[in-house]
Structures are given as C-alpha cells and as structure tokens.
Symmetry: C2
Subunit: 349 residues, 2 copies
DNA sequence: TTTTAGCACTCCAAGGTGGAGAGTGCTAAC
DNA sequence: GTTAGCACTCTCCACCTTGGAGTGCTAAAA
C-alpha cells in the first residue's frame, strides 16, 4: 500500500539491513557496523545515507551519539519490502497433523492460536467467524429451576453455544421437548440469521396465533436468538510471552502498556472489536505501532490474516512489540490461515 | 493450626502492627515509626522486641540499617491472629444480585471469579466441582464429517461439556438419535460415575450382545465417558492486576516469577492440580509464600475456600503477592463462598 | 528485670565527577 | 558521489562523597 518509491534502491537495502539488525540485536545500529556488512562503501557514506533516512522519517537516534533505530515508518518500509519478496510458506507436517485431530471449531481454533503463538514467539489469537452466519444444526431446551431454560445451540462445524433465558411464561418439560422438535425440524440447516428473521416473520403471521403451541415455541426461539451469537469466540495463547519483550526503554511505561494489553486480552470482546477493523481487510495485514487507531496498542504490532470457512470470515494473528520478527510472524500467520482454509474447505459438508 | 503460643501478648501485637503497616505502606517498618503508634514504650524497647522477633524468624532486615519486614512466618502469625478474631462477612447486596442472574454454573463461576478479583484487587479464580459427581441431564449426539461424532453432555445445574469422538464403526444419524434416546431414558438423573460403571457392566452382560443396536449405543456411551469430565472448569480473572505488584525488590526475578505464573494461568489444568491439594482441605485456607509445596508459587500467597453444591466440592480463591491485604482477600473469598453455598443450596433441584 | 537515652556504627540512596568509548556531523580533499 | 579525518556530543560505568535512616549496644534509670 504505502510504498515509498522515492527511496532509491541502495537506501532501501541499507534500511532493510538496519531494521533486520535492530530486530535481531535490539541495539541501535551504527554506521560502522553497517559498513562491515559488505555494501562496498565506507561508514562515512553510510552516515550520509542514514542522515537522509532520518530526515525522511525512517530511522531515529535515541540520543546524539547513538546508532539508528527504525521508526514505525521504517518498520513499515521493511515489512512492505519483505511482503513483496517473500514466497508463500506452509506449516510443518506435524503442525497440520496436530490441527487435523481437532474435532470442533473451538478445538481447532484453540490449537491454531497455540501454534501461531509457538511459531511466532508472541501472543497468538484466533477468532471464529461471527456465529450468525453459521447454520443451525440442533437446538435443545433444558428446563432449569425457577422457570429458566437452558438453550443449547449447535451449529454446523460443531460450534456450540448456550444461553439461559427466562421467559415470561412457564413451559413444561414435555412442551419444551415438543418445541425443540418443532423448531429443529423447521429450521435445521438454515443460517442463524435466516432463522431469526423467519421466527419474527411467523410470529407476525395471523395463522400462527391459532396454534398456541407453535406460537409459544416461536416465542422461545425468539428469545433464544435475541442477542445470541453476537459474541464471536476468541482464543488467545502465549500471554506469558508478553513479558519477554519487557526489555524496553522506559520500564514504567512498558508496565503500563502491558497492563492495558493484558486487560484487553481478558476482556476479549473489546479486543475483537478492535481487530474487526483489520479483519474487514482481506488477506494478510500488518499494523505497526502508531498505525493503530487504538491508542492502547500504539506500542504493539499486529500481524493478522483472515480465513474463510465458506460461511463467514474469521481471523488469525499475532500481537507483539513493534520490534518483532515480522518475517517469522508473517510466515506463521500466513501458513496457519492457509492450513485452516485447506482444512475447513475439505471438512465442509 | 501453626500457632506460636510462645509469643507473648505484647510481641504479638507489635508484630501485628508491623505486618499491617508493611502491607499498607510497602516499606520496611522502623522502630521509631512503631514507637509513634502508641505502644507506650520507646523505640529502644521496640528495638529489643524486634531483635527478638527477628531471632525467632518472624521478621527480617533487608539490610543492616533498614527497618523490619515480615517473613512468611510473620505473615502466618498475622493471618492466624486475624482469622481468630475476625467475624464472618457477607457480600454486598448488589454483588449477590449480580450473581443471582447467572444461569449456568459456568456463568456463575465466571461472575464469582470476577467478583473475588474485584473485591480483593488480585487474581481471582473459581473452580467447578469435578464434573463426574454431577448428574446426567441430557446427552446428545451430532454427526460430523468423517464419521466423527460430537457429543454434548448436559449435567444438572446447567453445566455443559462437549467432546468429539471418532468411533471405529459408522453410525447413521437416525441411529445416533435412537442411541441418544435410549441412553437418556436409561441413565438420566444418575451421576456420571454411576453411568460410566453401568455402561461397562452392561457391556459385559451377555444379553446385551443379542441387541446389536443397544450394544452399539453403549459403545458410544463408553467412548463418551472415557476420559471425559476429568478436566474441571476453571475461571480466572484479574490477570492484569498481577502487574500492579511488580514493585518488588529484584525486578528481574519478579519478571521471571510473573512469567511462570502467567503460564500456569494459561494452562489452567496445571494450576488446578496444584490447587487440588488446598481444595481437599476444608474451609478457608491461606497458603503463604514458602509454605507452598510448588516452588513456582513460592513468592505468592493463595487464599482459597471450598464450597459444596451438594454433588461435589469446588473452590474459590485469590492469588497475589505475599504482601497482600490478607484481610481484604479473606473477606472476599469467604463471603463469596458463602454466597455460592447459599445460592446452590437454593438453586438445587 | 525492664526500660530508656545516648552514641557509634553500618548501610543505602542520591548526587557528582571523570574518564573511556561509541558514534555522529562536518569539512575538505579525492 | 565518496572518503578520511577530526572535533564534538552523549552515554555508560566506576568511583567517590555525603546525608540520613535505622540499628545494636551500653550504661544508667525505673
């Protein structure tokens, strides 16, 4: 996207080596060190180049007599170049085998978040497609105390969600059974959104009112789908790896950032809201530090990619410090989304 | 338990004030400061007392000319005294109201872990009773691709677990329905352990073999209960609060400990194994730092209490630094376990 | 026997100093 | 456009100094 064609070839290569070196070593990169990397020019020349790069905003100096450190814009250029040159990668066979033995979607995504964290050495996440595009496989009502009812909803692909509703009227267990039977036979195989709309439509129809049983069943269904399935499930793994990146500049600020990030991870829904913006973008996305719209994430980068299971779009990704091994993270995210796409494509009914 | 009656009354009081002050302020407590707290003796006398307490192992000095800091043994004495004097507390009415609107057991425990974290300002957890003492409410088989079968198991109280099994033989969806009907009518209301044993027994009986359908249903049930329900569900909240306690002595070591604790929180099963030892103890337990059998927890304290829902024993607790407000944590844990006991007692069928 | 005042002592924390070293920018020559 | 040379800046570290906090001990008082 944001390419900078203004940057001449040599400058780009130098910038690339610099960013790579900083990612590897974590220390400002000096002109002398760069000179030893076979550019065929002296450190003085490199200093000129670096001064220019700094002027353009790609690198900066922590202090007057320090080497250069990439800015977010520098990382961006590096990542763009890497993305342009890279070739698609596949996960190792043992990873795919591990994924393949997952049964439910939840199981699979839990494994995926684990693997992506393993492979990238950072926090990994996996988000299921919004459930309302899934199809109804089976609906079950279980009576609880006080007239409350437990609804278990199984959608195709094995995703399971449940909810407790508290209907205004009482239902006997036999009636619940009948209602479930009726709803299952009526709506099975249709998407949750469709079901929701159909239920509303039928409740408006006149003839429904003649059949009290049917109406009561539909009322149940209505409260079942009311607000349900709006929370997509998220799996996050590798939280403890966050602490590995603590060696930052300002310890106090780092702690503060970590705290907010940890809180976001705990309240997964908020994280999902943020990530949704990237999810909407197709393909593999890298968001670097200050590029984040959310200020809480300004010191982190996110590598995320979407997958499609034929019914909806989910996402897999990595969260880590701006100084992350983007190559590793990108390969991890990319190969795992490819794996999911292959698997759900094959698993699909 | 481990009372130290050897400690004279005045020394105990002084130790108590010291521990309380250190918990509040986080800084070593000096004899001069203690003298200002109205013991009616001079700092010199207090110095003598402190020297004695140090000799006995209740307090220590970070360095020669620093005030005193409680040791784990000092915390222990403080907690024991607090426990002896304290009165039972109840949660605020709004807390109980929030809990009451939870539907499933999972829902309730998730809320509880949240509340206990809120109230104690530390990491809170809630563990469900081992599921195998729960009673079977409903069993459901859903056919998946490749001959795999999704089993949904609802136990009374609304606890739901599911599992994917891959039986050696094929089952049609009609047969699955029949099998579920058969198993439900046969085993509903019995505890999962009983069911498991019954299933095994019947499979051994001769007459079972005459009914192929029944046998195949029982085989399904067998793989369903094989290994299922061994993982009790755990809810943990407040992870980000861990970082509040970072102001420790050795930053590097602190990070290391946090990392292992975070990892344990991620792999909840390991945590449960550890906590099981405390769970077996009845009532409210406080385990302080080095009292932990597990070395990974040596710099943390745990306050935990058990509850009983009539079918099994679960636990609620708090994990925090040894320098925690034990009074607050104990009250939080105690009042919430009481609340659960009241609620499940009433909710029970 | 216990308490207290006094005092010497220890140790940490904070601030200051002074190289050493790393790395730069600039200039002038190539 | 590139390079050598050099002055300059800044950090880092090790060292020292100083002030203060807090102790332990001793000898006297209660």
């Amino acid at each position: 996207m944001t390419r900078h064609p203004a940057l001449p070839e040599r400058d780009r290569r130098i910038l690339g080596v610099l960013v790579q070196a900083y990612i590897d070593q974590g220390e400002p990169v000096s002109s002398l060190w760069l000179a030893s990397r076979g550019f065929g020019v002296s450190s003085a020349t490199l200093r000129n180049v670096l001064a220019r790069l700094e002027e353009q905003g790609y690198v900066r100096q922590p202090h007057t007599s320090a080497g250069r450190v990439p800015t977010d814009m520098g990382y961006r250029a590096y990542v763009d170049q890497f993305m342009a040159e890279r070739r698609a990668s596949r996960p190792g066979p043992q990873v795919e085998a591990r994924l393949r033995q997952a049964g439910t979607v939840e199981d699979l995504l839990s494994h995926v978040s684990h693997e992506v964290s393993r492979a990238s050495h950072h926090v990994g996440f996996a988000i299921a497609p919004a459930a309302n595009t899934a199809r109804l496989e089976h609906l079950e009502f279980v009576p609880l105390d006080g007239g409350k009812i437990l609804v278990v909803l199984i959608s195709d692909g094995g995703q399971i969600s449940h909810k407790v509703i508290d209907p205004p009227e009482r239902y006997g267990s036999v009636e619940l059974q009948q209602a479930a039977n009726y709803l299952n036979s009526e709506f099975r195989g249709r998407s949750l959104i469709e079901v929701r709309h159909s239920v509303l439509d039928r409740l408006r129809e006149e003839r429904t009112l003649y059949d009290a049983l049917m109406e009561r069943a539909l009322l149940l269904a209505n409260s079942t789908f009311d607000g349900m399935a709006t929370a997509p499930s998220v799996f996050i793994q590798g939280t403890s790896l966050l602490l590995d990146d603590v060696g930052g500049e300002d310890p106090e600020a780092t702690i503060q950032t970590l705290r907010t990030l940890l809180r976001m991870i705990e309240e997964k829904t908020k994280l999902v809201q943020l990530l949704d913006e990237y999810i909407s973008a197709s393909g593999l996305t890298v968001v670097i530090g200050s590029e984040h719209p959310a200020p809480d994430l300004r010191s982190f980068s996110i590598v995320a990619a979407t997958y499609n299971d034929g019914r909806g779009t989910g996402a897999v990704g990595v969260i880590g410090p701006t100084r992350m091994r983007y190559s590793r993270a990108i390969n991890a995210v990319d190969s795992l989304t490819r794996a999911i796409n292959r698997m759900v494509g094959r698993t699909d009914a």
